[in-house]
């Protein structure tokens, strides 16, 4: 039995529904030591900004039960170095590229998208409106994150959309009361897909030193710990939007990925699980194929949103 794993995410054709979480896979090269990363549906690169960024001071990481907190602060090489140093490798290896972008202003997002399209730097754009580790987004509409304000989500989405013809994905935050509002705002403003979820905001204190473990005080919680929250947000968002959803949050196995797909995600991203096991995303691809075979499903698209109500 042959299974179709190909999905179309708002115009981006992926040969299978598995990509990686921005910031958890670098620019693909390191993990190519462990497996051929071009086998993934797409590679989502670390958030790119106009200028290189140093990020937050250390410590930036702490392990938590079934997860981790990070406060990287979007350290990245910047768009120039990406285009000159990272992109050629990705292209040479035949990777489908989702370029995740981060700007200080809507205009910066527009510039990044425009430049990426012009220089062939991406097959789709993912606008990160939801990083909890950067201060300069704080004054966005009274909210700390752009993704916490549906109006701002719409504004940023429109600007990115008007800057590029590439498919535009909008990455939202779980740190909201009602995920359907920013999801609908993104859809109405023309987003081709939404990515769910970025990290939950959390904090860890070392009782012995009485200090917050992260220099930035708070950080983003990721990993299996947050998976139930992520599945629920995908399910809720899928009930209101028609555009595809890329689901993520704690995916470690194909079974985890299936939870997201059944909840309504058309693609999934493996995030920090790659840190523990670099080829997790490939294992998920293979596991999804097995799942379809075992269940007699010829096209994975049939399973999207297929959760049965009790």
């Amino acid at each position: 039995m042959s299974v179709n794993l190909q999905v179309n995410i708002g115009g981006l054709v992926m040969k299978n529904p598995v990509t990686v979480g921005s910031g958890t896979f670098g620019y693909g090269q390191e993990y190519n030591n462990y497996f051929d990363v071009s086998q993934l549906g797409a590679i989502t690169v670390k958030s790119l900004s106009l200028k290189p960024r140093a990020g937050n001071p250390p410590p930036r990481l702490v392990e938590t039960p079934a997860g981790m907190l990070n406060a990287i602060g979007l350290q990245n090489v910047g768009i120039d170095a990406y285009l000159s140093e990272k992109l050629p490798w990705l292209r040479k290896h035949g990777c489908t590229i989702i370029a995740n972008i981060y700007g200080h202003t809507p205009d910066e997002y527009g510039q990044l998208a425009e430049r990426l399209e012009r220089e062939g730097g991406a097959d789709a754009i993912e606008a990160n409106l939801s990083c909890p580790n950067v201060h300069n987004a704080r004054d966005a509409g009274g909210c700390k994150l752009v993704a916490q304000s549906p109006e701002r989500v719409a504004e940023y989405t429109r600007i990115v959309k008007s800057a590029t013809k590439l498919p535009v994905f909008v990455k939202l935050s779980p740190n909201v009361m009602d995920i359907t509002q920013p999801a609908l705002a993104a859809e109405e403003a023309g987003a081709d897909a939404i990515s769910l979820i970025n990290t939950l905001i959390g904090m860890g204190i070392n009782p012995e030193t009485r200090r917050s473990i992260l220099s930035n005080m708070v950080g983003g919680l990721s990993g299996p710990a947050i998976r139930p929250v992520a599945v629920k947000m995908v399910w809720e968002a899928a009930s209101v939007v028609k555009i595809p959803i890329i689901g993520m949050g704690g995916i470690c196995t194909a079974g985890d990925a299936m939870q997201f797909i059944l909840a309504g995600a058309r693609a999934v991203a493996v995030g920090c699980a790659s840190f523990r096991q670099p080829d997790t995303a490939l294992q998920v691809v293979n596991g999804l194929e097995d799942y379809c075979k075992r269940h007699g499903v010829v096209d994975i698209n049939e399973l999207v949103g297929g959760v049965l109500t009790r």
Partner: protein, 271 residues
Amino acid sequence: MPHVVDCKITAHQEAGRGHYRMALRAPKIAAEASPGQFCMIEVRPGYHPFLRRPMSIERIFADGISLLYKVEGEGTRLLSTVAVGQSVSVQGPLGKPFPINPAWERPILVAGGIGVAPFPGLAEAIISKTGRAPEVVIAARNDSLILCEKDFKRMGCRVTLATDDGSAGRKGFASEALADLEPGPGAVVYACGPLAMMYAVHEVCVARGVTCYASLEAFMACGDGVCMGCVIEANVEIEAERMVRVCADGPVFDTTIIDWTAQRARTGGRS
């Protein structure tokens, strides 16, 4: 090129109170490893602990490697309970090794506590590549925490000990023991241990115009240069390039590149 391999434990013993040495069958990793590199060890399958733990490679054999580690918290405690014959998942070799150069006439290894871990393999490599046995300074809180002394002596190294309480060797710090050795032109110092110790060693070296390589530590998630989690501040002009990754740009750094002021501010001068 690093690999992820399930490695059988071929030996596992206590090597001092709360310290263990583990030998692993890992031909693929051994074939590519150099002293100063490290591995990321899955201490127990499952989600708790969630992340692998970085461990220096102590020695490199034809068919495997050994680790030397201290029980620090839950992960290393769990690792210490894994029995010979069982397997652990090991990712490595990772990071940049210690540079070795036959032109450097007087290699000196300075270890503090468990910081001695990467040095048996380094001493072996220096001997085989340069024909010269390095001098070794081993510092620890007290005599029971001095590790590997015999191993170095067996290799023909001159070993100097230093303890906080004088229970073995010189009473005092590793940096003082190093200064006693009067390193000068032609010397190269390799340091590994608590941050405060490495800083003091670095200062001795700077004062004497000696090159110093130190192996640094940081909490790591990926160990592979991907997550940007393990950075420390370096002396780099360009602000955006100040943060260097201990796992991929290190763990071994020329100590003059490290922004010691930032490191020391963070730990409040403590190690």
